[in-house]
């Protein structure tokens, strides 16, 4: 138990230290972070996967940032206004913002980025832009978005990974994907791109002309590429890196590393993403098509055990489809807790008659494999016959996309709003063979579909809450998937690195405020 205790102590220290620091930030210094895996590109307008965002979040900015409660904060927009009818959004930009090559940033860059560049290259943003009628720049420091109809989550899409500002003077009229400048990204962010030694490191340097007086504090930032998990842990232990962003070391290494001196850990900085894990259940056919069988599965799962034994207690038990860090979460939904007796009752009432259930672990390493083993055992104890199906990533994608499974582990981001990151998993229009990221379970409920639609275009937050609560109640009762955990990805860092995670987007939001205490 000693391990767990030291770990809890470390967590407590970290929490204490993540409270607002009253010390005056000190300028200077170099910060080394792990980047895992190596990003394919740093041009965030073209590539938005996790590692790209983590590095490019220092280079590119958007109009807003979001705190841990997902309330909008100023970034390139210093203020904003929403009209009464929810149709007009007016942003006022910061003064004296320059691109890294010295050109001025102004409202025409915003219009170009959103209306021209990202509309062409960014599928997730494009889905939101269908609600936008026009984007205008009445003067150099003002941008006005006019919507066709109210769109509830609209103020939640002005984040750097969703809407990075792209320099118009470099990209206008060019072939975006093949522009040679993609290799030397130009943004407005606190750090400039300096050098990328493939397979080794990415080097960023301080943007001396940054619009915020005195920021950033750091002189240089190195993102180190270390392909092997054990070596990444060693890199921290030997002092080669100072920060291990969430997911860069295996969970089983976390307690050992966090027990080190001068080491802090935080699970903050993921609120915007809200990584939510669940097991797909195949509603299309087979034993899981029966609601009672699905309920039997749901109540068989000892999720608290998985949280403690596999995730080091970091994260939370999910209560339903919407993460507690996502807006409009409702915890007052039917219970999906571990209850072996209830599970057996549901199983007895179901049409299950001993078929072998095929369970696909997520092929993302040891933690997920162990989790599948524990789950299999939980299900066996309820009375299921379960077989683990070993796959690699490609095999997993294919089997899940082709609905060739009974149960399959997964996790997805929620992007702060149910309309952006939750409804996609449950609406009938999103059932299509071939992709493992849509409504793979095959959940069909036309009533709920109508509510999703209504909630997305409602202008009133109260009305949205009411609709989403109704949705959550119904879906939790239908158990189309077996919700597991709101994953906690710990960011591990030296305690003298301050203000590393200051928003709900975490390190992906850039190191604008980070400084090193000496």
């Amino acid at each position: 138990m000693r391990r767990t205790l030291t770990f809890t102590t470390a967590t407590a220290i970290a929490l204490a230290l993540s409270l607002p620091a009253f010390a005056e930030p000190q300028a200077g210094g170099r910060l080394n972070l792990i980047i895992q895996p190596e990003p394919p590109s740093l041009m965030m307008g073209l590539v938005q996967n996790g590692p790209t965002q983590m590095v490019a979040g220092d280079i590119y900015e958007s109009l807003l940032r979001y705190d841990e409660n997902l309330e909008p904060q100023p970034s390139l927009a210093k203020s904003w206004e929403v009209s009464e009818d929810g149709l007009t959004y007016t942003f006022t930009l910061q003064d004296n913002v320059k691109w890294h090559d010295g050109e001025d940033f102004d409202s025409s860059d915003v219009v170009f980025s959103v209306d021209v560049f990202l509309r062409e290259t960014h599928p997730r943003l494009r889905a939101s832009l269908v609600h936008v009628e026009k984007i205008e720049a009445p003067d150099p420091s003002t941008v006005v978005f006019t919507l066709k109809q109210p769109f509830g989550p609209f103020l939640g899409i002005f984040e750097a990974g969703t809407m990075p500002m792209i320099p118009q003077h470099i990209y206008e009229g060019t072939d975006f994907a093949n522009n040679p400048m993609n290799n030397t990204p130009i943004g407005t962010g606190p750090f400039k791109f300096e050098e990328w030694e493939r397979g080794s490191y990415i080097h960023l340097v301080k943007n001396e002309d940054y619009y915020m007086e005195g920021k950033p504090y750091l002189d240089e930032v190195y993102y180190q590429v270390v392909p092997d998990g054990a070596s990444r842990a060693v890199a921290y232990e030997t002092g080669q890196v100072d920060v291990l962003p969430g997911g860069s070391v295996e969970n089983f290494d976390v307690p050992r590393i966090t027990a080190m001196d001068n080491t802090c850990v935080t699970d903050k900085g993921w609120e915007f993403f809200g990584p939510h894990s669940w097991m797909w259940m195949n509603n299309h056919e087979g034993p899981m098509a029966d609601k009672n069988t699905r309920k039997a599965v749901m109540h068989s799962l000892d999720r608290q055990f998985a949280l403690d034994a596999l995730w080091n207690g970091l994260g939370k038990l999910a209560t339903g489809p919407v993460s507690s860090s996502t807006r409009f979460h409702d915890s007052d939904t039917p219970s999906i807790d571990y209850d072996p007796e209830l599970a057996k009752q549901y199983l007895a009432d179901s049409s299950y008659d001993g078929e072998t259930i095929r369970l696909l672990p997520l092929p993302y390493g040891e933690t997920w494999q162990r989790w599948a083993e524990a789950t299999r055992q939980n299900l066996i104890e309820t009375g299921f016959d379960v077989e683990l199906v070993a796959t690699d990533v490609a095999g997993w994608n294919q089997r899940v996309g082709e609905w060739d499974f009974d149960l399959a582990f997964t996790y997805l981001y929620q992007y702060g709003d149910p309309a952006l990151g939750v409804s996609r998993t449950y609406v009938e229009s999103n059932i299509a063979k071939g992709s493992p990221w849509n409504n793979v379970a095959g959940y069909v409920n036309p009533e709920v579909d109508a509510l999703w639609q209504q909630a997305a275009v409602s202008a009133s937050a109260e009305e949205r809450q009411e609709l989403y609560s109704q949705i959550q109640d119904t879906i939790v009762d239908d158990v189309p998937v077996a919700w597991l955990l709101e994953l906690g990805f710990p960011t591990i860092y030296r305690c003298n690195v301050k203000d590393l995670v200051t928003t709900g987007i975490g390190i992906n939001d850039g190191l604008r405020d980070a400084w090193i205490e000496r």
């Binding site: 138990m1 391990r3 295996e250 089983f252 290494d253 307690p255 050992r256 055990f305 034994a309 596999l310 672990p361 040891e366 494999q369 162990r370 599948a372 083993e373 524990a374 299999r376 055992q377 066996i380 104890e381 077989e387 683990l388 199906v389 070993a390 690699d392």
Partner: protein, 280 residues
């Protein structure tokens, strides 16, 4: 002759020790499930319980709180099963190919030996990994993959033996007496080629156990089967905090493989007395 061999075997102390260990492992494999009727996957206590700290859990628990002793006992079955079955399958492939090549010679020999070399030139472990990546990793395919990578030495050995035996006078006598080819190979030649095959087979069982462990260690084993290699594979990640989790099944593998090797050596001495005396 047979009795002499047995005496020689029993006089070899190493072989006797090997036999005792193997008998113990076999006994564990047979009786173990009676002593540990529960599934070795069952999570019985809190994770990472060190050995000798709790009654009823002599070897402690692993990362998920599973009984290590139960895993070891159930793993013995899998290791022996894989070792024996895959060796038998390898013999079933290797012996006929070697016998045909050795007996007929000429074009058939060339064709069969080139075919054998094709398998021999690929490193066997790499080939096993590739085979399992193609197949679904299950116990059946693990055994098949091990058999496929281990038959070539058998074929070559048998070919050599048959090649030297087929020109013996008693074989020629059998030919003259009008016995059929199949009869000559199975009745006259193979029984006399048996001793080196037996020795090789005992070593192959050891290799097969090691191969299965290595594959499971890499996560290419059957995920539904508790084997020693799997136990080490999962414990590898916590080597620095719970070293005993990889040490205990490691010792089990070491002892079993050592026993098979000692027995193989003893058999070699017993069945080829002249050869062994020469080498001493």
């Amino acid at each position: 002759m047979m009795l002499d061999g047995f005496k020689r075997f029993a006089r070899n102390r190493g072989a006797a020790i090997g036999l005792v260990i193997l008998l113990f492992v076999i006994l564990t494999a047979i009786l173990g499930p009676l002593l540990y009727p529960d599934s070795p996957w069952k999570m019985v206590q809190r994770p990472f319980l060190p050995p000798f700290t709790m009654d009823g859990l002599p070897l402690g628990t692993d990362a998920l709180g599973r009984d290590v002793m139960a895993g070891l006992v159930h793993g013995a079955r899998i290791s022996l099963l894989v070792g024996l079955v895959s060796t038998v399958v390898a013999l079933l492939i290797g012996v006929p190919i070697g016998a045909l090549a050795g007996y007929f010679g000429g074009f058939i020999d060339d064709a069969l030996m080139r075919f054998t070399e094709f398998f021999q030139t690929i490193p066997s472990f790499a080939l096993a990994i590739v085979l399992l990546a193609i197949f679904q990793p299950s116990l059946f395919y693990v055994i098949l993959a091990i058999a496929i990578v281990s038959w070539p030495p058998v074929a070559r050995l048998v070919r050599g033996e048959v090649l030297s035996l087929r020109s013996r006078e008693y074989v020629e006598a059998a030919m003259l007496s009008g016995q059929g080819t199949l009869q000559i190979i199975t009745r006259q030649i193979l029984p006399n080629a048996l001793p080196p095959i037996i020795v090789l087979a005992s070593l192959m069982v050891a290799t097969a156990i090691l191969l299965e462990s290595s594959l499971s260690f890499l996560g290419l084993g059957d995920p539904n089967v508790m084997s020693w290699g799997y136990m080490i594979g999962t414990a590898r990640t916590v080597m620095r905090t719970a070293w005993w989790l990889s040490f205990i099944p490691g010792v089990a593998i070491l002892l079993t493989v050592l026993a098979m090797n000692l027995i193989g050596e003893g058999l070699n001495d017993a069945l080829n007395p002249r050869l062994s005396r020469k080498s001493r």
